[in-house]
Symmetry: C2
Subunit: 417 residues, 2 copies
């Protein structure tokens, strides 16, 4: 079963909004065994949208359209699908009730424009609205067109409750399993060289295949396997993952969904240690990533956001004389922050991160400078300075958080093993 995903909206095509719906939807479909062959984003133009839908129907058994189901004049999905299906639109009284109910429950009258959301192509199967937009499916030339709202919470509910069960019933699915090996500190081409023989063997009929993803200096290798069911696909993939972990050795930082904050939590838990952070350049971004890990409160106690220079003495006992001598962006201050939060919060481990996110240099340190400190039990506080390549302020802050977490992970690996 092949699928094409179509996302509708000027805001997507012009880049004002990043289309995260299609990636989410693709993961759901691939996990079910659907072969997603491409994504298309198209603007709010009836002729363009109609042409894209006609090409998709000619090419795939399933076409999933997200967006363009709202009440405003630029919401054109229903009209384009009716044209492709060659049928008129019809107003569905039960959907009018659903939509009116949505407003009544909030103590409001239904605004007039919402009425058009109850108009579906003749013969379509309605999917009851989660918000105000009903979804629907319609068969055209043997292909299923499913139209779903672009609001993520509404889309996700309709996919899980309606679309996936429908596709499962149609059959023709092949289970796909994708597993990921994360690496750091090794060039993409070096990864490719080390696993070259394995790639050759798999190409000559091994069943699984590899792909290589590189971003921000980290390369991921993915192993993709397919089979009659998930267990069969998994049996094919797992030995390849084991072989890759052997080939890549110490460059492997984690498997599958494990991000560096998960590895940090696992390493801390293994020793029964707790962590506190002292952040300046990242403004809380390191803590925000740590708390995404479920159960983080078992090993992440908290920390301080010592952003303005004046906050550093108050929050983490940084002496004014040290600030004056070394400047706020220095390894000494990073170490003092790490030591200060560790002592104040009574944790085993302290992490400090300071730096210059721009737009201008600070205290003689150029934009992109990041200084890190890691305080561990029974060891001198470790420090390091990293110069990040030129990027926007927000990117630098996010990269600084990533570098801080990765440095912490490495210190923990060295301390725990």
């Amino acid at each position: 079963m092949r699928a094409v995903l179509v996302a509708v909206g000027d805001e997507l095509v012009n880049g004002d909004v990043v289309d995260t719906n299609s990636a989410w939807l693709a993961r759901r479909l691939v996990a079910l065994g659907v072969d997603v062959s491409r994504h298309v984003s198209v603007d709010d133009d009836l002729d363009e949208l109609t042409a894209v839908l006609r090409a998709a129907v000619a090419d795939a058994g399933v076409v999933v359209v997200t967006g363009g189901l709202g009440p405003t004049p630029d919401d054109l999905t229903r009209y384009a699908v009716a044209r492709v299906a060659g049928v008129p639109l019809e107003r569905r009284p039960e959907l009018v009730s659903n939509i009116r109910g949505h407003f009544t429950r909030r103590g409001r009258d239904m605004p007039g424009p919402n009425l058009v959301q109850a108009d579906l192509p003749r013969g379509a199967n309605a999917i009851a609205p989660v918000g105000t937009a009903p979804g629907f499916t319609v068969e055209v030339d043997g292909a299923l067109i499913a139209c779903l709202p672009g609001v993520p919470v509404e889309l996700e509910r309709m996919v899980d409750d309606s679309l996936l069960p429908l596709l499962r019933d149609r059959g023709g699915l092949v289970a796909t399993v994708v597993r990921t090996i994360h690496t750091a500190g090794i060039a993409e081409s070096e990864v490719a060289e080390r696993v070259g023989a394995l790639v050759g063997r798999l190409a000559s009929g091994g069943g699984s295949r590899l792909r290589f993803l590189s971003s921000q200096g980290q390369t991921r290798v993915q192993v993709v396997g397919r089979g009659a069911d998930v267990a069969a696909a998994r049996a094919q993939v797992d030995p390849v993952v084991d072989e890759l972990v052997d080939l890549l050795g110490g460059a492997v930082t984690g498997l599958d969904d494990e991000r560096v904050e998960h590895a940090v939590g696992r390493l801390l838990s293994r020793r029964g240690w707790t962590l506190a952070v002292g952040e300046s350049i990242t403004g809380g971004g390191v803590g925000a990533r740590l708390v995404t890990v479920p159960g983080a409160s078992a090993w992440f106690t908290g920390g301080v956001i010592a952003y303005a220079t004046a906050a550093k003495p108050v929050l983490a006992d940084v002496a004014q004389a040290v600030l004056d001598e070394h400047g706020p962006v220095s390894e000494v201050i990073a170490a003092t922050l790490a030591d200060g939060v560790r002592r104040r919060l009574g944790t085993d481990v302290g992490l400090g991160v300071v730096g210059v996110a721009g737009p201008t240099a600070q205290g003689g340190r150029p934009v992109g400078t990041v200084c890190l400190g890691v305080a561990l039990p029974h060891a001198a506080t470790w420090t390091r300075t990293v110069e990040l390549p030129p990027r926007s302020r927000t990117d630098l802050q996010q990269s600084a958080a990533g570098v801080a977490l990765e440095s912490l992970r490495r210190r923990l690996v060295a301390a725990v093993t």
Copy 2:
């Protein structure tokens, strides 16, 4: 000048990576005056990629391909473009030197697989590599195909230094200006109703057009205008923006790139006030958003991440008896955090945010509960409890940060005006 953007990679089509490159690229092209008509993501399959490129060349004068230029066996862009152009690949000695130099400067030998990155379709114009991947452009049937690496920092450099100047020289551009009015606390359909007459007037020949974007309960209205140059387009758009601000009144939260954290910074600056935050559920996510605003240190002093319950007394003077009586997720604790950080850091304003991100309820409060406190000069500390709709842990944490910032903004508006 019409453009189609093609992003290449299994990881995109299968949803393991969200394609942020195409949105960035689209914004750059639209700002230059290129009419972007669609984005396509296609997997690492030579036949599929070739078919997508042929369709794009038939439909647009400019086709920008990102990704698939790496050294690994799944990097197929150069082969597909050579097929579409009907020419062989040729190794470019000067590019071999460029790529080798990249490794030499890092004290390493060039791995063998990188050699293929120097192979370009005959007749192509090379764009020197930023990392190891050269870009290139080639003319096919009157269309320009530009192939650029998928690594964002490399892509961005080549677009700004090479692609945009090239397109400017080709001419045929129409300047486009997009301005945005952000609203909150009003349904999308209500926005549509209030501006209905304006939409009608613009449709009958006003030149500009409107679009409506809705996410997380906030609706944005965008005004799009085109003209011979940016000044002409802007002259068309600005009066429409003014009219919309009048029509939408108090629902308007900001214009253009201004996010809520910018509005918070502007409001604080206007009064010469400073802010401290006390975060639990968000783990630092509120601070991380505040520090994205350039110059934030003038009004954002810092704060504490009182994540584990034990951290709250230590970091923000929350009395154990109050924790025992009210539980960590309560308006009393949010208010105490706000007051505590305000006092400790000597700021004018304090913000406290606690809540339950899941996966399980906490202290009798369900997942999605968020309690907020805002402490202002000369006023009792304001508190509020919000129940967020069911979402993932990470989404709840991010929404909690957004709700906290928006609540703070409203309190500041009330206090400052």
